[in-house]
């Protein structure tokens, strides 16, 4: 892989985080302008001279020079980071202060500081995630919109509101204050979890976008792992969950570009390095007394990863893990996944019973709810009823991949003779 791939996107988050610490969080827009400016310069210069040896350092140095210009020019007109006191106001101290502020040690925690600041409790979870994606991952408004399958106007509004909330907070989150830190950490976990999930299960039709979201979530989780206060058991569990799922990404799309359900996947395509890494994080997460949903979800993923073949899956263990998950973080989707595991363990009739016991109001627009019903009716020998469910699933399918997957299932139901050959199918939910 080209080490410079997504260079600007990656560096945008680092640069804007550091600049915001120097300028103060109320000058977020100014920090973004400086980043934009440094990128334009890089493009102009590198066109002619080629990409420098260390492009990331080049960009940060350019941002530093620009920052110094801005501080000199506007030190009487603006106030900058109040925590830096008067250092930036005097011509004598501004240059050495900036030098110091951009030093390797100083910028180490800047992204973390920004991440915690974005996960402000005054913002809705979806706004926090959009902000993380925009500020720390360098996604443009259009790219965030396509990741969330939302309109640009809606995302623009969400992000600009969120930025105002952020800019009004007096200062960036202090990552050294232990008390606040552990209080804010669950929100950060949640945002990264949602970011990963959007990539993994999200409705975006472009598989490339989805994989990138997963990778960004993993990159930011690594920042947490590298920080003494943030590397808690829950953070390790979150990392485990991401790595164990990411390991399956190469198997999710089959050779003809179609979505492949977990039980049908070619498991030799799973990334064994990521499985091993995920397993290591899971082991590290098993300290302390706190059991989070991330622990349980990672444990479920680990059971799947352990089974070299679908038939070897310990479905009984998976059902009991879902039971635990239902007590920690109950939701209709978790209940549905549990029902699917029950069907694998005890047969389609039992699966149907479990699905019918779920309050389906919030699942009506979820294609894999109908698909699961279709699957189990089909396996119980009722292809006509199964077809009805698959049609309902198709009506709420969110993208081409889902549609193709469901059309394929519908076609199978229309060939009753083939019934026996696909009794091991299940909906994609755990894929």
């Amino acid at each position: 892989m080209d080490p410079n791939e997504h260079l600007f996107r990656r560096e945008a988050g680092r640069m804007v985080s550091t600049l915001t610490r120097v300028f103060g969080v109320h000058n977020l827009a100014l920090a973004e302008d400086v980043v934009q400016d440094a990128f334009c310069r890089a493009l102009e210069v590198w066109k002619f001279s080629g990409v420098p040896e260390n492009p990331a350092a080049w960009l940060m140095a350019t941002a530093k020079h620009r920052a110094l210009d801005v501080l000199r020019r506007e030190r009487t007109a603006r106030t900058f980071a109040p925590e830096l006191g008067r250092l930036l106001e005097s011509e004598w101290t501004v240059a050495p202060a900036v030098e110091e502020l951009f030093g390797a040690n100083a910028i180490k925690d800047d992204q973390l500081r920004m991440m915690f600041s974005c996960c402000n409790p005054r913002l809705a979870e979806e706004a926090q995630v959009a902000l993380v994606l925009h500020i720390l991952c360098g996604f443009s408004i259009g790219e965030v919109a396509s990741a969330f399958v939302s309109s640009e106007a809606a995302i623009e509004k969400r992000i600009s509101r969120a930025k105002k909330v952020l800019a009004r907070s007096k200062r960036l989150f202090d990552v050294r204050g232990a008390d606040d830190f552990s209080g804010r950490l669950p929100a950060v976990h949640r945002a990264l979890y949602l970011l990963f999930n959007e990539g993994y299960h999200g409705a975006s039709p472009e598989s490339a976008v989805r994989t990138e979201l997963c990778h960004e979530a993993m990159r930011l989780t690594t920042l947490l792992l590298n920080h003494a206060l943030a590397a808690t058991p829950a953070t390790h569990a979150l990392a485990a969950l991401m790595y164990l799922h990411a390991a399956r990404l190469p198997g999710r799309i089959d050779a003809s570009g179609n979505l492949s359900s977990l039980v049908d996947q070619d498991r030799s395509r799973w990334d064994s390095r990521l499985v091993a890494e995920g397993q290591r994080f899971l082991d590290l997460s098993a300290t302390g007394s706190e059991l989070t949903e991330y622990h349980v979800e990672a444990a479920i993923a680990a059971v799947h990863a352990m089974a070299r073949r679908t038939e070897n899956t310990d479905w009984g263990k998976i059902v009991s893990l879902y039971d635990t998950l239902m007590t920690i973080r109950p939701s209709p989707v978790v209940a549905l996944n549990r029902a699917i595991a029950v069907a694998q363990h005890e047969g389609p009739e039992r699966g149907l019973e479990e699905i019918r016991a779920i309050n389906s109001d919030r699942l009506a627009t979820y294609p894999f709810y109908h698909a699961a019903l279709g699957e189990f009716e089909f396996r119980s020998g009722k292809p006509e009823i199964a077809r009805e469910h698959f049609r309902r699933a198709l009506a709420v399918a969110r993208n081409l991949m889902e549609r193709r997957f469901l059309e394929d299932r519908l076609a199978v139901c229309e060939r009753p003779a083939a019934a026996g050959s696909c009794c091991d199918r299940k909906a994609r939910l755990n894929s």
Binding site: H6, F8, F39, L43, E44, K47, F139, S140
Partner: protein, 113 residues
């Protein structure tokens, strides 16, 4: 063979990081292609968009920019080509056109004519 100067007109502005990346890769690819075919005499330099204009007998000094952003020269490259036609054809691969920019192709005057 003759020598020609490409003058790049128009500024790159308001791109997302990923778009900057794409533009970058396209410029690299275009330069590489011209280099491999032996057309690049001197890759040239980028120019700042602001400067000063010194003018007239009075040598009046005024601030730049002197034209609209889309007309400002942002850099130059010295290329070698068979004739003006070829130089023009080669310039058409320049990614600047994707951002409404322009390339001015100017033959270097030959002294021995």
């Amino acid at each position: 063979m003759g020598q020609f100067v490409y003058l790049y007109r128009g500024a790159e502005r308001n791109r997302s990081p990923e778009q900057t990346q794409e533009a970058m890769q396209k410029w690299m690819a275009w330069f590489k292609q011209l280099t491999e075919k032996g057309h690049i005499k001197d890759p040239g330099q980028p120019l700042e968009f602001a400067g000063k204009l010194v003018k007239g007998k009075q040598k009046t000094v005024t601030d730049g920019p002197f034209a609209e952003a889309k007309d400002v020269i942002g850099g130059y490259t010295l290329v070698e080509a068979r004739d003006l036609n070829e130089a023009v054809e080669l310039s058409k691969g320049c990614p600047i056109f994707e951002v409404e920019g322009a390339v001015e192709v100017r033959p270097v005057m030959k002294l021995n004519m």
